[in-house]
């Protein structure tokens, strides 16, 4: 069954450009653009940070080597053994794809680091103290306006999350957060996440999924929109960013900006003085999404939020699981440490813990899918209610738990919206509660099987256009049977019903031939009688 799922998953990612993250995207850039990207120190550091440990090692060894080195040197730096060889191969592939490691022109078999990349690294090593954080130029250095601590940061994060959540709510048609503004709506439509006419046109069926529709004049969620909703927040932000990279003339300046931002601390005051034209217009949009907050009083100052800081590096699945464990405060853990410890954790760090929990809890959902088709989702966000509502029947919503059940009709209504079975399964397993890791599947087999079976149900009937022949007179039984026999012989026959109805259906394309045949037969028989 697993193979079916993965095969389905591959086949179903309708937009190929939807796949892949930022680094895959860098791999697709041409030499000149990569050069421009590597002109920025933060981008280089960001790429370095992304590399696998072995690749990092290799890069650092080569940083100060200004000439090309033979490829074998690199092989020699790795211990012998098939495993190490494989790791080296992978590391080299990664470095080449990102164009960090390039062949020396005219010297086959020799490689070197990308010039710009190497010099940026050297510069950082030589002078790490110079602007430890990006975008500090032009600030007086007093850092009095920082929002890096306490309630200011919490307010900042809250506001950011609210903006992002508002957009997601708007996409699913919930009016809880109101309209996110014309510019955002326009953007959503241009990204294809929403559209006028909505999903109904695409799936060919009217949709009314219990989602409160705001009004006919507003755009409605599209098929891509539903796919988008089932992704996690970092993937979602990246989808937005990719849209920008396609839209603007210089994608590298978008990337540079993201890399820079990933080196910021949430809440530090930044100056927009050094931003180029593209970046400045981006900044306004970032503010709309909650990736940064522009200072109300000084428009040239802004504060990155953790949402923005995490766009590039996001959270790996393992990190998410770990965060999940922290956020839900696993009973399993409290079993080990004892309940009093759990209480201590809460009381001991009054500022930190609740805020962390809040940040993670509101962006993550931890789902337990039981073998009896019940779905329990640990979340405090009403957005997750809307997301789950796409494919489950919600039975009860408690402060930190959604109780729902998967039914045939709930899954079918999701199919009607264009959501695929594998997307649902993917969503359930991606957001599986850490406790589910203990069993051998994140989502029980019988649930995944059933979802796939339900999906299969929809593809069982094939429509063929046909023509109905009927109203043969009783005395024409011979004509009827001859015609049926003829159709059967030529494989035109779709349906037949004997006396007393005397009717049959053949392929529409053979209508003319059949009509001629019936006519001929009729005449022949009549002649025989006379």
């Amino acid at each position: 069954m697993a193979t079916v799922i993965s095969a389905g998953g591959g086949a179903n990612s309708s937009e190929d450009e939807g796949a892949g993250d930022l680094f895959d995207y860098i791999g697709t850039l041409d030499e000149a653009r990569v050069g421009d990207l590597f002109a920025c120190r933060w981008s280089c550091l960001g790429v370095l940070r992304h590399l696998s440990p072995l690749a990092k090692q290799l890069v650092l060894r080569l940083t100060c080597v200004r000439k090309g080195v033979p490829l074998e040197w690199l092989s020699k730096s790795v211990v012998a053994g098939a495993q190490a060889k494989g790791a080296l191969r992978e590391a080299l592939t990664q470095l080449r794809t990102l164009k960090v490691l390039v062949d020396v022109i005219g010297e086959p078999g020799r490689v070197q680091l990308h010039k710009a990349f190497a010099s940026q690294l050297r510069a950082s090593i030589a002078a790490p103290q110079i602007s430890a954080l990006p975008w500090q130029d032009g600030l007086d250095g007093s850092r009095g306006n920082d929002k890096t601590s306490g309630s200011a940061l919490m307010n900042l994060e809250d506001a950011a999350l609210r903006k992002w959540t508002a957009i997601l709510h708007f996409i699913v048609g919930s009016n809880e957060y109101g309209n996110p503004g014309k510019r955002v709506v326009k953007l959503l439509v241009s990204m294809g996440l929403m559209g006028h006419g909505g999903a109904s046109d695409r799936s060919g069926t009217a949709h009314n999924n219990g989602v409160a529709v705001l009004g006919s004049s507003l755009p409605q969620i599209t098929r891509q929109g539903y796919e988008f909703m089932l992704k996690d927040i970092h993937e979602q932000v990246w989808i937005f960013m990719k849209h920008y990279t396609r839209k603007v003339g210089s994608p590298e300046s978008v990337l540079q900006m993201l890399f820079r931002m990933s080196y910021c601390k949430p809440g530090t005051e930044c100056s927009s003085g050094t931003l180029d034209e593209t970046q400045r217009s981006l900044l306004g949009d970032f503010d709309l999404f909650g990736l940064v907050q522009i200072d109300e009083s000084r428009r040239d100052r802004f504060f990155p939020t953790s949402l923005g800081v995490n766009v590039v590096f996001g959270q790996s699945r393992e990190e998410r699981m770990a965060a999940a464990a922290r956020a839900v405060d696993l009973p399993a853990q409290s079993a080990q440490t004892g309940a009093s410890d759990a209480a201590k954790r809460v009381k001991g760090e009054p500022g930190m813990v609740p805020m962390n929990r809040r940040a993670t809890a509101s962006s993550n959902v931890f789902i337990i899918c039981e073998t009896n088709f019940k779905v329990y989702a640990y979340t405090e966000s009403s957005l997750h209610v809307e997301m789950l509502r796409l494919f489950v029947n919600i039975e009860c919503i408690l402060p930190n738990l959604i109780v729902a059940v998967i039914t045939r009709s709930s899954i079918r209504s999701a199919f009607k919206l264009g959501i695929t079975g594998s997307q649902i399964i993917h969503f359930l397993s991606e957001n599986a509660h850490p406790l589910c890791k203990k069993r051998h599947r994140l989502v029980p087999d019988n649930i995944t099987d059933q979802i796939i079976l339900w999906e299969g149900e929809r593809n069982r009937v094939r429509a063929q256009r046909g023509v109905l022949y009927k109203d043969f007179q009783p005395e024409e039984e011979a004509v009827h049977s001859a015609a049926v026999a003829h159709a059967l012989e030529n494989k035109w026959l779709l349906f037949q019903s004997g006396p007393p109805n005397m009717a049959f259906v053949i392929l529409e394309s053979k209508h003319d031939e059949m009509r001629a045949f019936v006519k001929r037969t009729r005449e022949r028989l009549r002649n025989n009688v006379h």
Binding site: E370, N372, F373, N400, V403, H433
Partner: protein, 841 residues
């Protein structure tokens, strides 16, 4: 009950004892058991349901409670959520899981218990059960509050208070073969006596009581008179006279416009009763401690270990203090249901408790568990609920099939040690119980008596007897043989310590009522594996027997190795084109459609393949089919023995012996490994050797049947290692794209809620080929032959159609009226038609 209905009932009862009960009941499940329910029954359950609805209406409806609820401090370490709808969700991963489970099982209905989150629901009945195991309102609320991540919603608070406040205040006690309602609260008795139905049932007027009191003073206490018949009949005729005068007085009282006067009258009555009742006081306030000890009794088990939950609940106010005077009034036995129902309606459900340890009037039964008998922890736990305060309570214990219900019942009998009557659903069950009693206990054979259509043993001279009988024998009312009548009289005159009712879920309420009218007992214990009925009549059991005392968790028992690990598979069998075409035709009658999917040639082939595979592995296979024509055909085609309603008792026993094999067989008999069997195999037949079930047809969407059938293979085989995957297999063959698929889903619901999963196998042919198991298509001539036969059976089809139409119309009207959800069709015609068409024997 109209004369027609009476006739019909009579006819039903006159049917062959074994089959009638079972097969009728499978109808009775999806179909309303109209024939069995007279008007009183109907209105009773309806009224009680109304009452329950009214109470339940205080609970919130709706879905989203985020706005009105907040998480409590430290919610992470608390294990449950309590929703304003009365639903409770429990984290199975919580360190307090075991404690919370014990508590929740006591106060709420388990809805589903899969792996990580369990779902419970508070219902009026579950709370009633909670009170009857001595949990009081405050304890329930306090414990809930402590366990819950969210504050207890006010709706739930009100609901719990409303359902529990008045519960447990009044009891129904049997003393010297007379029934009394007793309570330490005068105001409760007063309230009860204000109810007309109870006043009617009250045994004697004040005058009569006073006269009796006088009589007693004069030394002519009724106690001196033995339980002999003559003395009894004198008293009875006396009572009738007294009753008449009482009735006049009742009317007068009812007409009294001045309420105060009525009040005074009642007051006086209770005072008088008080005098009589003082010799009945014996409330000891026995702690819960010796309860568990008692359950362990002779079992040699570890009953002393008290679970955390019980420890946590020790602050339960157990019994009213000994100083408090217990008041009582007597009621006539024939009104017992009316009284119980009325009391239930008034929110004072009568608890039935039996202080068997102090009962010196009834002779002791010399019954003890053998030293070698092991009582398992969960059996002890369930009995601890029954004997919670040192007395025996009436109620129902729910244990999965194969988990040792019989031993639980026997241990209860060993605890009470008084005369015990056991109701089984058929004579096979009777023999099985007797075998078990002999195996598990030291009771001498002379104390064990049978009362069945074949053997009518007299009770033991000492009066202490274990009588094993069937529901039919007890409810049968006409034309008994002289022997039967004699034994029946003995039964009626005995004051039974305990009634054990096996497979309590299959028996129609009507039969219960009749049986219980004849048998007076101190305490009733119902045993069942699946307390579900599609017709919702389960609620009736609540006041006929008592609350559900305990329900075991299937998955937990499986993990502990007490139940076999069953692989449940739903095998999809594609319909052959010819069969499918006929199935799809709009002019194909419903009955034939049904036979078409049951007799689907691919099903034959797949069944044959599975049989070969499992027989090769030396497995014992039961093939289940509900359709008699299908049984015969499977039997002839696959060359296997069959057993169904028409099989004679002799042949039946011989087949079962041969299936059990080994020492069970008589000389010269050959062992068989496969048996195709009808619904008669669903309940009561104990075939511990079976470990594979292939279900080729079943009774529509019956959840209970599915669970019962699974139960046939749940008993773990001795000497098997539990860590090695599956050791039992449950296949259901489903014809693809037919209504079987819909029913199949419905049927599985109960088991799915118990944590079982059904694996769908779509491509069994390929799997078989890949693993080298021979797979043969059914020869085309055979296929045609089956189809021809199906078509030939026209007459019965027409009848079936007609009955279905009528039934559907009735059901539609019913659902319009009641709007009470799904009511499946049935009626007399349907029944008779089914009988004619061979679906019902």
């Amino acid at each position: 009950m109209g004369p027609k209905q009476a006739d019909l009932l009579q006819a039903a009862l006159a049917e062959a004892e074994n089959v009638a009960l079972q097969e009728n009941n499978y109808l009775g499940e999806d179909f309303v058991t109209e024939d069995y329910d007279d008007k009183l029954d109907k209105s009773a359950s309806a009224k009680i349901a109304d009452r329950a609805r009214k109470n339940t209406s205080v609970l919130a409806s709706g879905v989203d409670f985020r706005k009105i609820m907040q998480l409590k401090e430290g919610h992470e370490s608390r294990p449950i959520w309590v929703a304003p709808t009365g639903q409770i969700y429990l984290e199975a991963s919580s360190p307090y899981f075991a404690l919370a489970t014990d508590f929740l099982v006591a106060i709420a209905e388990p809805e589903s218990r899969p792996e990580l989150i369990h779902h419970y629901k508070l219902t009026p009945y579950s709370l009633y059960a909670a009170v009857s195991v001595n949990l009081d309102t405050e304890t329930i609320l306090r414990t809930l509050e402590r366990l819950s991540k969210v504050p207890i919603p006010p709706e739930v608070d009100t609901f719990v208070r409303r359902c529990t406040a008045s519960h447990g205040k009044a009891k129904l006690v049997l003393k010297r073969n007379r029934l009394y309602v007793e309570s330490p609260y005068p105001e409760v008795l007063k309230k009860l006596l204000e109810i007309r139905a109870i006043r009617q049932a009250q045994d004697q007027s004040i005058d009569a009581r006073l006269r009796r009191l006088e009589a007693r003073r004069m030394g002519q206490d009724a106690e001196g008179v033995g339980p002999g018949q003559s003395a009894n009949s004198v008293v009875q005729s006396n009572d009738v006279r007294l009753l008449e005068s009482a009735a006049v007085q009742e009317d007068r009282a009812a007409q009294a416009t001045d309420f105060e006067e009525l009040d005074k009258l009642l007051e006086r009555r209770i005072e008088n009763i008080d005098d009589i009742a003082d010799d009945d006081e014996e409330d000891g306030g026995v702690g819960a401690n010796d309860a568990t000890a008692m359950a362990a009794n002779d079992g040699g088990g570890s009953g002393k270990k008290r679970s955390a939950a019980e420890a946590g609940m020790k602050d339960v106010k157990s019994e009213p203090s000994a100083q408090r005077k217990v008041l009582s009034f007597e009621i006539r036995p024939e009104y017992i249901e009316q009284v119980k129902e009325a009391a239930m309606m008034a929110d004072y459900p009568l608890m039935e408790e039996y202080d068997f340890k102090r009962d010196s009037r009834n002779p002791d039964l010399p019954i003890n568990l053998r030293a070698s008998t092991r009582v398992r922890a969960y059996q002890e736990k369930s009995l601890a609920k029954m004997f919670g305060n040192g007395r025996a309570r009436s109620g129902i214990i729910v244990l999965p099939c194969g988990a040792g219900k019989t031993l639980t019942g026997i241990t209860a009998a060993c605890t009470v040690k008084k005369s015990c009557i056991i109701f089984c659903i058929n004579s096979v069950g009777v023999e099985q119980w007797i075998r078990s009693i002999k195996m598990f206990t030291t009771l001498k054979d002379e104390h064990i008596r049978r009362f069945t259509s074949l053997s009518k043993d007299d009770l033991h001279e000492s009066g202490a007897t274990v009588l094993v009988t069937t529901y039919n024998m007890m409810s049968y009312s006409k034309g008994r043989s002289a022997d039967g009548e004699r034994v029946m009289q003995q039964v009626k005159n005995t004051e039974w310590g305990l009634i054990i009712m096996d497979e309590v879920h299959v028996v129609p309420a009507k039969m219960f009522r009749m049986a219980l009218r004849h048998v007076k007992s101190h305490c009733k214990l119902g045993l069942t594996a699946t307390l579900v009925r599609e017709d919702g009549l389960i609620d009736d059991l609540n006041f006929l027997i008592g609350p559900k005392l305990y329900e075991a968790n299937w998955q937990a028992l499986t993990e502990q190795g007490f139940l076999a690990k069953v692989l449940c598979a739903e095998v999809w069998c594609p319909m052959t084109p010819e069969f499918f075409e006929e199935y799809l035709r709009p002019d194909t009658p419903a009955k034939r459609k049904q036979l078409l999917y049951v007799m689907n040639p691919n099903k034959f082939a797949i069944c044959q393949m599975l049989l070969r595979y499992h027989v090769e592995k030396k497995d014992k296979v039961l093939v289940f089919s509900d359709d008699i024509p299908a049984i015969l055909r499977y039997s002839t085609y696959l060359r296997i023995h069959h057993l169904y309603g028409d099989t004679t008792q002799w042949e039946r026993e011989r087949l079962l012996r041969r299936f059990r094999g080994g020492k069970n067989m008589l000389e010269g008999e050959k062992e068989i490994n496969v048996l195709v069997i009808s619904q008669v195999g669903d309940v009561g037949i104990d075939l511990p050797q079976a470990n594979v079930i292939i279900q080729v047809s079943s009774h529509f969407g019956s959840r209970r049947q599915e669970a019962q059938r699974l139960g046939r293979i749940l008993r773990p085989k001795p000497g098997e290692d539990f860590n090695v995957g599956w050791n039992a297999f449950f296949y259901t063959l489903i014809s693809m794209d037919t209504s079987e698929m819909y029913f199949s889903n419905k049927r599985q619901q109960y088991l799915v809620d118990q944590g079982y999963t059904f694996k769908v196998i779509r491509n069994i042919k390929e799997i078989a080929r890949a693993s080298g198991i021979p797979y043969e298509e059914l020869p085309i001539e055979k296929q045609r032959e089956i189809q021809r036969d199906l078509r030939a059976n026209k007459v019965s089809e027409a009848l079936f159609e007609k009955s279905l139409e009528i039934a559907n119309r009735q059901a539609a009207a019913k659902s319009r009226k009641a709007a009470a959800g799904r009511i499946a069709p049935t009626n007399k015609l349907m029944r008779s038609v089914l009988r004619k068409t061979g679906r019902l024997k």
